[in-house]
């Protein structure tokens, strides 16, 4: 019901493209600057901590490779979800959406595990520059993932109650754009933080 009203108010589209999709891409552009600034902080302070623990002491490449892979696969789940919803297959749409959120939660679980391990080893936000910049950068990313998970689970619940249909494909697409962007940021962070030590 809200879709048709919104469509009526959609007025006139000068480009033939939906408002909300343009909004999400513009927002993603803004997020490039946000993560860019956080990356600047991390890179500028790399190697400048006066006390440990230092990255080489703590970063667990194999573990993070697995969680990175999990997040990458969640993006696959997301496109499969969108594909299903666009076809009108709400059963598989719901399943793939849930799988996306689930893999996102697994990734977050991995982050929580890693963070608590670091804290246990003596690295907190205020221990040194590495602690501050690492937790801020990856924490911000994690917060973005968490928001994404909440968004996706909301869509799953809506689908469960029959309130998400093929007509809402655009909504799923936009959630997908957000989700993939969060994944793309992680691709960059994985390389910069873990591999370029």
């Amino acid at each position: 019901m809200s879709q048709t009203d919104a469509a009526a108010m959609e007025m006139h589209s000068a480009t033939g493209l939906p408002n909300r999709k343009i909004l999400m891409w513009a927002f993603i552009g803004s997020e490039c600057m946000l993560f860019g600034s956080l990356i600047i902080v991390y890179m500028v302070y790399r190697g400048k901590s006066l006390v440990g623990p230092y990255p080489a002491d703590l970063l667990n490449i194999p573990f993070i490779t697995v969680t990175t892979f999990v997040l990458l696969m969640s993006s696959l789940m997301m496109v499969l979800a969108l594909s299903a919803v666009q076809r009108g297959d709400m059963k598989w749409g719901k399943i793939w959406l849930f799988m996306t959120a689930l893999l996102g939660m697994v990734f977050l679980g991995g982050q929580v595990y890693e963070f608590s391990h670091f804290v246990h080893e003596g690295l907190t936000l205020k221990t040194n520059l590495f602690g501050g910049s690492f937790f801020l950068l990856t924490g911000t990313h994690g917060a973005h993932v968490a928001v994404g998970v909440i968004w996706l689970m909301s869509l799953v619940f809506m689908a469960q109650r029959g309130r998400l249909t093929q007509a809402n494909a655009e909504t799923v697409e936009i959630a997908g754009l957000y989700w993939h962007f969060v994944d793309v940021v992680w691709i960059v962070l994985f390389t910069l933080i873990y591999l370029l030590v």
């Binding site: 959609e10 552009g29 696969m73």
Partner: protein
Amino acid sequence: MTQPHEHAEHAHPSNRTYILVAAILGVITAVEVGVFYLDALKPVLVPILLALSAAKFTMVVGFFMHLKFDSKLYRALFVGPLVVAIAVMMAMFLLYGVFSA
């Protein structure tokens, strides 16, 4: 030129393509980690990793986010700020000597 209707009319990768892209992403990740552990490649580690990440980035944006098949407007909205972000980052890395030994 009234109602939004663009997604129905563009080329759509099939589910098979998506799975293939995901597989490639997994392989590239494995290669990245492999390269990381290979001491012989240490001198060229940075360029290789940056190139591989850039490849993953482009594939996710192009295929999963559909940018390759969508209106050029979205590309402009994304690439503009991305270019500015990268330029500012590069300037700051130079100012702080991030690239030097």
